[in-house]
Symmetry: C2
Subunit: 325 residues, 2 copies
Amino acid sequence: MNNFLNPLIETISQAIKKQQFGQEPKELYEPISYIMSLGGKRLRPVLTLLGYRLFQEDIRPAIKPAMAVETFHNFTLVHDDIMDKAPLRRGQATVHTKWNDNIAILSGDVMMIKVYDLLLDVAPELLPSVIRAFNNNATEVCEGQQKDMNFETRNDVSTDEYIDMIRQKTAVLLGLALQLGAMIAKAPEKTQQDLYQFAVDLGIGFQLKDDLLDVYGDQAKFGKQIGGDIIENKKTFLLINAVALATGSTKATLQQWIEATDFDATEKVQAVTQIYDQLGIKALTEQKMNDYFDQAFAILKQMDIGDQQKEWLSGFAQMVINREK
Amino acid sequence: MNNFLNPLIETISQAIKKQQFGQEPKELYEPISYIMSLGGKRLRPVLTLLGYRLFQEDIRPAIKPAMAVETFHNFTLVHDDIMDKAPLRRGQATVHTKWNDNIAILSGDVMMIKVYDLLLDVAPELLPSVIRAFNNNATEVCEGQQKDMNFETRNDVSTDEYIDMIRQKTAVLLGLALQLGAMIAKAPEKTQQDLYQFAVDLGIGFQLKDDLLDVYGDQAKFGKQIGGDIIENKKTFLLINAVALATGSTKATLQQWIEATDFDATEKVQAVTQIYDQLGIKALTEQKMNDYFDQAFAILKQMDIGDQQKEWLSGFAQMVINREK
């Protein structure tokens, strides 16, 4: 399978390396080159190339739209990292740490403008629908981020609200990425919608997997601090369920750890993980995650595309499902 | 003249009142309604309506593009106010003060997306060139803001660099606003370029007038604290020239005031204004400002439009030239 995806990843990596958004003032453009070069899995632009490749052999017309999606994604990282006061991104200093908040705000703003420059590459007759689809999803990403911030100070977040938040913050951009490729390839509207829904469901599963890896991942493979979410009381699917299900002394202990201000991080991670284990939170989250992966495959199965195309999408899904980082 | 501009201002005010960008989460959309409702002179959207009205009677097709320009302008205010740590905007609390920095970043981001939604209202065949023109100028606005921030820590800013900065940060958006109206009205390319240059020159004069009003304005009319730029050592055209022209004890006194950390604000404003007077900075700035206004009128004179149309543009220019706030 990777034999198929690798050239797509290579194509987008080369395009990112070659992309030059501007020169002066350098305070504005160096941070953009920096964040774009930090790497990551490039899932979103690969989805755009893949969405196009399903219908057309030569993927070159999908490269700039794929870059638009990746640039938008990186823009959200730059601004989210300011909001979250995150020091590190992919193991490197975040833009606002390496430069400062103002530069991170403004270079992020320029990235947003450049997203639309890249979208101008699509055929003019497609531009209105491409921008409309892009904007609807980009707006949802911002709404998801605001909800995520709102959740920080709320104690009554339901799992439905949580799923809706990660759908907006994370999953819809995967949906848009795949749909965009299909749009540019002029795929039928119904197929575009199926591809969108397939990738959104995959994206929700992807984020639930992320919540799981934070607690149950392999430190060496995951690359991030195991238990980071626990230390910060991040309202993940795991914590929301644990708070809802815990009773008696377990509830009290969990609450103590949540409220603790002075604690040993390792001790907190161990204690909360133990509560998760006790309450069967891992299985519960895996169940929910697999529900979404199953939904994605159900959509894929009935999709009006060739078997070879289904195999490619299935291969991409497997990569997401099996990820350990 | 105002008899002509007033209906345009009224049209855009009504459109802003009716515009609803979204509902939930309210933390994201209330700040947008708030900043958009604070008013201001609405110069930019009026320019777009005017640019259209030069060629077409019924201005309705220009309303959404005019809203796009005003929304972009307000987006820059929201983000610039975070960067400048400004507590007040138009006499009211800035978004980041009334809510917080994160909400100001994110609601600004949503405004940017909504700008492109509003631009989708233009005829599809015009969309690529509209977005391209918009993006080129929007990028320059960001570059101008970055240069303005860079100037804060530099002591060798030349007047040419300063003019270039205000051209990017302030003037090009006026140029784009007017050109956009003409674009949508399908005016000839050459006339569009003339209109752009006319409004850019007007915009540079407009900003130089702003620099002057900060020192020599009438407090009651200006609405802002007189001498605000002096108190903050803001590198305006006045200060840059004063630093360049002062010699001997005047230079030393000016330098002392610039470096002073503990001072009486009124005393500093008086002392620096006195140095400006001594060096003839007011006349020098007026000269430069009038050069740009003259250039604008020279372009207007040779423009390939009717006399009535020239009168409208001239009336707009007079309003900018005569402004006391």
